[in-house]
């Protein structure tokens, strides 16, 4: 009877109910999208491995490190593998076509990043040819690249026109892996620099270190930095997660604003649902007084009102969650170059559900309080 009553009550004013459900759906959709934007910001951090360290110049990432550090780092206890590379910063045709592109030592790099899946044939073709490159699946799809295509990049950090031949298209091991990156041989970059800018040759932007055991990260990082202390190029070694976080923290103010806006949306919809519930309860004051008259207690009336409010927010929440997926896909396609991994996570859905439940309960608090407080005679409107 309780369920029957709260469902029938919820749909007594269909237009009002549908508008309220629509409002909740839009709010949950907006909340879910904003949370997904925040998740996308942290995608690099989430995808980082606990068994990898990043070593860079202690002054700043823009200052290089000597290639000669490679063997010294490899000799540190706990180090399994060392790779290295440079942020290339090349532009494809136009600057609006931004994507991340790196010059890397391919063998060691792809060994460290086993989450980038490349077929054996494509790997062999890429490793064999010095001007070869590989691109992520989403990146190749974005520009319609096919294996064998020549891809020209205009150098910004390393001036000149650079042409690469696409020999492989990698896929991520799962959906959290960025498939919008571009890699080519560091050796190709270095050879060119030796000819054109010898002063910049034999230097790398970063080292990637593969650990034997993730729990050795702190000790190994300390040992690596200790090797180069008081040298002309001191290093800063940190976990890949901490390295990625240092980029995210640069945008912390924006993330905080997005977070606040997402909460404001929930507060606004809470007020809307509370208003709907207050109107409904005010209209039915006499009916609730009848329930009280018949002997129904406060708990039953509270369950009736909270249940109705939760019915509205559950329906609106479900609709909003249902809309979040296609909207996030469309949004992800539109902003793929800024957010390589843009997917609605299970955590976001849980937050949506929690937000809908909190809105449902909080919106019913004042109407419940009003019903509990009102005298039966007053409710029946018959003091004579």
């Amino acid at each position: 009877m309780l369920l029957k009553l709260l469902f029938r009550n919820a749909f007594r004013h269909r237009l009002r109910t549908l508008l309220t459900i629509g409002g909740i759906a839009v709010a949950i959709l907006a909340f879910g999208l904003l949370r997904t934007v925040i998740s996308a910001w942290y995608a690099g951090v989430d995808a980082s491995s606990a068994s990898r360290l990043v070593t860079r110049n202690a002054i700043s990432l823009i200052f290089p490190l000597p290639l000669s550090y490679k063997e010294k780092i490899r000799s540190v206890d706990g180090v399994r593998l060392v790779s290295y590379g440079n942020w290339f910063g090349g532009v494809y045709i136009d600057e609006k076509n931004f994507f991340a592109n790196f010059a890397v030592e391919p063998g060691s790099y792809f060994s460290l990043y086993s989450e980038f899946l490349l077929s054996d044939d494509e790997s062999a073709a890429f490793f064999r040819e010095r001007k070869a490159c590989v691109a992520g699946r989403k990146l190749a799809r974005r520009f319609g690249w096919k294996i064998g295509d020549t891809i020209p990049l205009r150098g910004t950090i390393f001036p000149g026109n650079w042409n690469f031949v696409l020999r492989g298209i990698y896929q991520g091991k799962d959906k959290t892996i960025d498939e919008n990156q571009f890699f080519f041989h560091w050796e190709y970059l270095n050879e060119t620099l030796r000819k054109t800018m010898p002063r910049r040759a034999d230097q790398v932007g970063f080292y990637m270190i593969g650990l034997k055991r993730p729990d050795q990260a702190a000790a190994t990082a300390e040992a690596v930095d200790g090797l180069f202390r008081n040298s002309y190029a001191e290093t800063l070694t940190e976990t890949e997660k901490a390295f990625q976080m240092s980029f995210v923290s640069m945008s912390e103010a924006i993330i905080t604003v997005i977070l606040l806006v997402s909460y404001v949306i929930i507060v606004i919809i809470m007020a809307v649902v509370a208003n709907t519930m207050a109107m409904s309860v005010r209209e039915r004051m006499g009916e609730y007084a009848v329930f009280k008259t018949l002997g129904f207690g406060r708990g039953y009336l509270a369950a009736l009102i909270i249940g109705e409010s939760l019915t509205l927010t559950a329906l609106g929440g479900l609709l909003g969650i249902g809309l979040t997926f296609p909207t996030a896909r469309a949004f992800g396609r539109a902003v793929g170059q800024f957010f390589p991994v843009f997917r609605v996570s299970a955590d976001t859905i849980l937050l949506d559900v929690a937000a809908a439940a909190i809105v449902g309960v909080v919106a019913a608090v004042i109407p419940v309080w009003r019903i509990v407080q009102v005298r039966i005679a007053e409710g029946l409107g018959r003091i004579g």
Partner: protein, 244 residues
């Protein structure tokens, strides 16, 4: 008005009100509504309370039904001193002992006639099957067994009031309280409802306390009490027509 029953048993009255005082507060002002009311109502009695608007008759009805709290005095219903009850205890007591009939029927519009009558039974331990049997009996008593799936909006005023009467009696309460039960009905529907109440009292021995402005309704009662400015008197102050 019918003659006062001469053959009422000498049992203690089912309702005994002693020195009842009730007032309402408006800001810092206390407005007296009922002043030192004492009244005995016997089991099976049909009592009508009359009086001008604002005389306190509905307040007295509310107090008898346990819907409001007294300032002082005593109300014993079937041996229970209801003025001592907490709000929760009063709610439980009302569920088992009082049937309510309102002027505007006060049916729940989203529930069918069957569901409205079933509502008070939801507070009992009866099984679904037993509830169904009780509801069917109550609805057939008011001759609405063929309308049990109708919603209140699909029923006439008289039919709605009969559903309300079925809801009031379905738990077999000790007393029935009726606040202007014919106040919103046409003459013929009113007569139907009054006839039904008369039968509940005469055939089933229900104790009924009714507030009314309608002299024709008062005529059905065994006892007529008159309230004016919070004071209860026996003497009928109004002319009651013999014919409806």
């Amino acid at each position: 008005m019918k003659e006062q029953r001469s053959n009422l048993p000498s049992k203690p009255p089912v309702i005994r009100i002693t020195d009842l005082v009730k007032s309402y507060r408006r800001g810092s002002q206390s407005i007296p509504v009922l002043e030192h009311i004492s009244l005995d109502i016997e089991e099976g009695e049909f009592l009508a309370l009359m009086g001008p608007s604002g005389s306190g008759k509905s307040t007295l009805l509310n107090l008898i039904a346990g819907l409001d709290q007294v300032d002082s005095g005593s109300i014993r219903v079937d041996g229970a001193e209801i003025t001592d009850f907490s709000e929760m205890a009063l709610a439980a007591w009302r569920a088992g002992h009082v049937g309510f009939i309102f002027q505007f029927y006060n049916l729940i519009p989203v529930l069918t006639a069957f569901e409205n009558v079933e509502l008070p039974l939801m507070l009992t331990n009866l099984s679904k099957k037993a509830r169904k049997a009780h509801v069917a009996t109550a609805l057939s008593m008011v001759n609405l067994q063929d309308r049990m799936d109708h919603y209140p909006r699909q029923l006439s005023g008289g039919q709605q009031q009969r559903v309300a009467i079925a809801r009031a009696v379905v738990t077999d309460p000790t007393i029935l309280v009726a606040d202007e039960p014919t106040g919103d009905l046409d003459r013929y529907s009113a007569e139907d409802v009054l006839h039904l109440m008369d039968e509940l009292c005469g055939k089933l021995g229900k104790t009924i306390v009714m507030v009314t402005h309608d002299p024709r309704a008062a005529r059905k009662a065994h006892t007529l009490k008159y309230l004016e400015k919070g004071v209860l008197t026996d003497a009928p102050q109004i002319a009651v027509p013999e014919r409806i």
